[in-house]
């Protein structure tokens, strides 16, 4: 039990970093209605860019900023594949992901680079758990506030409309292609931010660090919704729920490891759990909701 407790702050910190990543997934998956697989690559891009810049002496804040911009560039690429070139979103994301694999290797020069917290002025690190937690809370708060503001603006509302009903959006004069690209850029910028934070926290960037990120992100989104959707209806609170979803995910993950579960099987386990939860709304519709009688569309007196 003592070991488990000692590992708790670390699990919470990692959970929050993945929670930030999950906010990126939330924007594409929930708001834009696109399953964007770019994230598996852009997470590592964020880590790689941040790490290499810091290794060459760049200030940590600037390094994080450039990492975010690099992630946005990845989103832009997927967006162009999808809108301008008409490639289905899933495939567009996979193509970018593959491109990023090469790009990330080129950025790092090899498959991993260490960024020792003792020698560099990192924002988050395992060495200072409590400070790290505070900084992560601040990051999440600012991020959620900015997103809350943005999705309340005219432009942000039109992005939400694009994801909700694309035909209606065009009929209302909304540039849906632009909005999809914008959403993909914001999402991947956030994912790259989490990658940059994770590299600092772990003290290394690794080419495979984003592998399966989409599943972890989805898991956090799903957990966040399942646990908090009844109480957290407001948009900002729902994003908070997503971050908390990431934290819960990591605590469970840590616990499973603590209990001696075969770590080789963890990715499989996560994927199966996510698959199951993705099926729930489908099953609900198929087996539990009584089909509405046809022709009572005007039942509410219209």
């Amino acid at each position: 039990m003592g070991g488990w407790l000692n590992a708790l702050p670390g699990a919470v910190a990692q959970g929050m970093i993945w929670g930030i990543m999950a906010i990126g997934v939330y924007i594409t998956y929930k708001i834009l209605d696109i399953a964007d697989l770019t994230v598996d690559g852009s997470m590592c891009t964020g880590a790689a860019v941040c790490t290499m810049l810091m290794l060459s002496g760049v200030n940590v804040w600037l390094a994080v900023l450039v990492a975010i911009l690099a992630g946005m560039l990845a989103g832009l690429l997927t967006g162009i594949f999808h809108t301008f070139m008409g490639i289905p979103a899933i495939l567009a994301g996979i193509l970018t992901q593959l491109i990023l694999w090469s790009v990330n290797l080129k950025i790092m020069g090899k498959s991993n680079q260490s960024l020792p917290a003792r020698s560099f002025d990192v924002l988050v690190t395992q060495l200072k758990q409590w400070e790290t937690l505070l900084i992560l809370v601040a990051f999440c708060a600012v991020l959620i506030a900015v997103l809350y503001w943005f999705f309340g603006t005219e432009l942000g509302s039109s992005v939400r409309a694009t994801g909700c009903n694309i035909g209606m959006s065009r009929a209302q004069g909304i540039n849906t292609d632009f909005n999809k690209i914008l959403g993909l850029m914001i999402s991947n910028g956030i994912v790259a931010l989490s990658g940059a934070l994770l590299a600092q926290y772990q003290g290394a960037a690794d080419i495979s660090m984003g592998r399966g990120a989409i599943v972890t992100g989805l898991a956090a989104v799903i957990i966040g919704e399942a646990v908090f959707s009844k109480v957290l209806r407001n948009f900002a609170l729902r994003l908070t729920g997503v971050v908390l979803g990431g934290v819960i995910y990591y605590i469970v993950y840590q616990t499973v490891i603590y209990l001696g579960f075969d770590t080789d099987l963890l990715k499989m386990l996560s994927a199966i759990v996510v698959a199951f939860f993705l099926a729930v709304p489908y099953w609900n519709k198929k087996y539990f909701v009584k089909p509405k009688k046809k022709g009572d569309g005007g039942n509410a007196g219209a």
Binding site: R160, M168, G298, A302
Partner: protein, 264 residues
């Protein structure tokens, strides 16, 4: 107001599924015309409305709205001239967004969407009044998700959205077809009222012959991608369903085949 010149559209050209949906279509609408459009299944009615809305570019011909050549203009840009209501109540609104958010999106049609608030409190008062006029009790549900509304309520909201920011042309594609008769009548009278009050120019596709005769000042009948019959004014007012079916038989050489129309 609207001018279609020799508009032609072929779907799946060069394949076994080739379908000439619009064939050298010509149409001129005057300011304030309220035109009802009838025709059999596959006559090209929806295709004509889609061509006007810019869902795709026609193969040939020209489309002018209020003197502006919009033939090559993409759908979302053209939207500033148009209000549209679709057959399926699901299509015209964003279900996951609130009623007031939907209206706020619509009021900004044709304007640049910037980083100002998506909805201002002064707008809410206006929306409340407009919703109250619908007589559906929606004025108390400004922040309800549109997805919770009935089909008729959604069509009424869509109609409001289409006309909130006065369009040069209102396109209605069987917008009451998915509703039960009582609801359809309600939405139809609402349509009449808005078109009348705002002096709108409108094209309304309907499968209901009686509606086509009762509403509007002009009626056109489509067949195989063209207009075979165009009648207005006094003559139109005196039409009967029998007349229409008769005319159709003579002009097209076939029976009027619209499964939905025959049910009426």
């Amino acid at each position: 107001m609207l001018e279609l010149k020799n508009v032609t559209k072929t779907f799946n050209p060069g394949t076994v599924n080739e379908k000439i949906a619009l064939k050298n279509l010509n149409l001129l609408l005057n300011d304030g015309d309220f035109v009802t459009v009838i025709g059999g299944n596959g006559a090209g009615k929806s295709t004509m409305l889609n061509a006007i809305a810019g869902v795709w570019k026609p193969d040939e011909g020209q489309i002018l709205i209020d003197g502006v050549d919009v033939t090559g203009m993409v759908e979302y840009k053209r939207a500033k001239f148009l209000g549209r209501v679709f057959q399926d109540p699901m299509l015209g609104t964003a279900a996951d967004m609130e009623i007031e958010e939907n209206l706020a999106l619509a009021v900004r049609r044709g304007r640049r969407r910037g980083l100002g608030w998506g909805i201002r409190s002064s707008e809410r008062e206006k929306y409340k009044e407009l919703l109250a006029e619908l007589g559906l009790g929606l004025e108390h549900r400004l922040t309800s998700k549109v997805g919770l509304l009935s089909g008729g309520q959604r069509q009424a909201v869509t109609l409001l959205m289409a006309t909130l920011n006065r369009p040069k042309l209102l396109l209605l594609d069987e917008h009451t077809a998915a509703l039960d008769p009582a609801t359809a009548a309600k939405v139809m009278s609402l349509t009449d009222r808005i078109i009348d009050e705002e002096h709108l120019t409108a094209l309304m596709v309907t499968h209901n012959m009686q509606d086509a005769i009762t509403h509007g000042n002009r009626l056109i009948m489509m067949h195989e991608g063209g207009i075979i019959f165009d009648i207005s004014g006094e003559e139109k007012r005196k039409l009967t369903i029998e007349d229409l079916l008769d005319r159709f038989r003579k002009l097209s050489g076939t029976q009027f085949a619209n499964d939905r129309a025959l049910l009426n």
